[in-house]
Symmetry: D2
Subunit: 255 residues, 4 copies
């Protein structure tokens, strides 16, 4: 059978990322406190394509995934290397997003329940490999302006903290999530009994924060960690008095 | 050219809705206060298909839309009739969803800005025609339990009120939206200056409501309107202390 | 602490479904060929609320989920019973959606890979309990009209077959998925080598089907199964020559 | 009333983009063939925030939008300038996405119907201003490998061509869309009668293209246009024999 993909391409345009995306795949992932957890990922795998080759063999990306047993740093490295080899490419790329669960304990009654965050991995390998780890963590923000000017109460809402980092050493999703939660007005929980609800309501009221405040506090925590070479932070607050969102961003390099 | 769709089907299975969906279409819509407004709709059009015909001529649905100039009750009626005729069907169906804007005035500073709601129309025509009008209106809810048990503040959040009605007379999206807003802890706005923010914060705090409260208050308002033959209400609150939502429903007929 | 939810409500409006939704939860699910598989579900749990009670205790739904170990028919029954009891309700409701993987073997090269379908469960318990099982299975459709009128080729595309059933006995997701795949122009696969690609291309071309054809063929298969008391089928084809979709529906009762 | 946002911030962290997002707004947009068209946009507006100021005044972004009458290059420039001024910022940013309609004529029967594309604008203004214009255009691709190895037919599918450019002169969405359509196996249409369907089926079969081919052909067309200073292209094909997508990218600078 003719191999159309391998034919010579005369247009001489090298391509940057060529591959498959939106593959959904069952995954076993390294977990800091429980050893591992199971999830379902959306995955993109690709390579840079030389100027004189017509196409990539897309099925080989899936064959590489078929060999994945547990997602951890060495497995990531192996996927990237394997793709480079199988597709004779100079650079391979990977992007993954999956729900990841933190087992959180409610602040007063001490009850445990899973909180879903989104985990993100973006990695590539040319001569060396680069791995960016990220989390999207739901938190609670309470508006300092609304609190200051109102006789009672203050508007508050669910917000999302996104942190992406490149680091010299392995970074846990749990580590980034804790920074996100500490920087917000209050963490959020899946299971709260009445004494817990009192606690989080009062904690948030004491701890009013704009998206700008949360973003800065996350940045300052990341600056203190010498192993982090690069980071990007975005905080989005689903404003409860509006039908739109407020947001703020910062990236390493402002110092 | 052979007309494969018109061929006789020997399987003898009549089908219920056969047609096109997720068509996006620019639309001019009747507006209570401004005469009309422009929007972009997602549309589904279909017919019931007889047991002995193989397929529907899908292009004819699009031809019917091509004739639409302004969406109002008579245009709806015409689309349904036209589809029935063109496709020789005993029943035609239509479903539309589109962003619709309410020009709202902020409570203290009196500034005007557009608030986007979602408008929904579900209509069908057999011998008679039936039209269901609906809105999804964003509002603000403040938790009565959190307020009661906490020393300061109370968790609050954006919530969505969905109202669907079948009525003897034409129903305005504005009319349903006002019921939704009156039944919530507070309406929400696109543009609020500081005195407005103080006002809505304090109004919501005075007016604490569970999703159950909002749902019941909407139902009681709809019961008072004799022209409304049927309704369904769902209120969803994007709980700010959780990563999940609370909801409550009611449908005409509980009395 | 005052229990605001339990207070007497004077509005006298009974509510139909009151509870939590969009909870994401890690799940172990019964699997026909492998015993079980792990996934992540979106879950809604609710009860009917009496006319004279103000609110539901939302945290109790989460406590029920905390006890779930493996999702199978008896666990479903237990969740519904447990919710009814804990919330002193006359009727409890559950809705779940989760990615579910079929390990499929490519038709010529015999290579195995996971194909993601969406599994749906809708269940409720009053005096008796009712369970609806559903699947959304991606397949391939090739247009009979385009094939008939064109000199070469025929437009084809990804399509989605949705099947929902209520049955006297336990129904496997695998069983419904096979009916969906047999009724399409061709099944689809995550991993196909070149001889497989030749096979599926030619199979689809021989087996041209409108959405109407797929819908009818699924219905006829379901009619043959005496244990199935009710079903609903919807087939949606992501038309490759348009930017909109074609669809067809059928529900038990047309005979 | 105290102005909390304007207070001095001692953390000394300058922020990169601070503002509002997911505002939905009715819009009148410049149209190449019809003068203008109406649509509904999702908008993000933001500024860079100095290290010593606590927060941004979010309502001012909405006030700027309130003055927008028709979206064209000078209105974009005015929004960016106005935001910079009102918020005393050194840099302002804007991002917009909206459905935009092309009135296309079917290839044989000559019937006109609207095809929805997505229009994207990303602009910022520091000392100078930069504007990136983009389109996401649905097209049809037919697989050269499947055609070559199969006796009859070839798998084909809807695909999406994304083109983003920065140019010395004003770029029309229509211009970019035509490049996308010319580079695919075939354009797609909302309304096609049978002779049109024959035409597009046969055209696509003659014109088999991988995502790699489409990407390269778009890039070569953009390279020929001297006014284009930078571009980025991504083509995604919703593979009809898989449940995942194939994609390829290229960015100016490979020459």
């Amino acid at each position: 059978m003719r191999d159309v993909q391998s034919e010579r391409d005369e247009r001489n345009v090298p391509l940057k990322k060529v591959g498959v995306k939106n593959i959904e795949w069952p995954l076993k992932v390294l977990d800091k406190t429980r050893g591992y957890q199971y999830t379902v990922a959306k995955i993109s795998l690709s390579v840079d394509l030389k100027h004189d080759v017509r196409g990539t063999h897309m099925s080989r990306f899936v064959e590489v995934l078929n060999n994945l047993e547990m997602l951890n740093p060495s497995a990531l490295e192996e996927i990237l290397t394997s793709i480079k080899g199988k597709l004779q490419a100079e650079r391979s790329h990977l992007e993954m997003r999956f729900p990841y669960f933190l087992w959180k304990v409610s602040p007063v009654s001490g009850l445990s329940s899973p909180l879903k965050i989104e985990a993100v991995i973006e990695a590539e390998k040319g001569v060396e490999s680069t791995i960016i780890m990220g989390v999207k963590v739901p938190v609670h923000t309470l508006c300092p302006c609304s609190k200051e000017i109102s006789e009672n109460g203050a508007h508050n809402q669910r917000a999302m903290v996104e942190i992406y980092v490149r680091s010299k050493k392995m970074i846990w999703f749990e580590y980034l999530s804790e920074i996100a939660e500490r920087s917000a007005s209050c963490p959020i929980y899946t299971l709260l009994k009445r004494p817990d609800e009192k606690f989080v309501t009062e904690m948030a009221y004491k701890n009013a924060k704009f998206v700008e405040d949360v973003t800065r506090d996350v940045a300052l925590e990341l600056e203190k960690d010498d192993s982090i070479e690069w980071y990007k932070v975005q905080v989005t607050s689903f404003e409860s008095i509006h039908n739109h969102d407020a947001f703020a961003c910062v990236e390493k390099g402002w110092m």
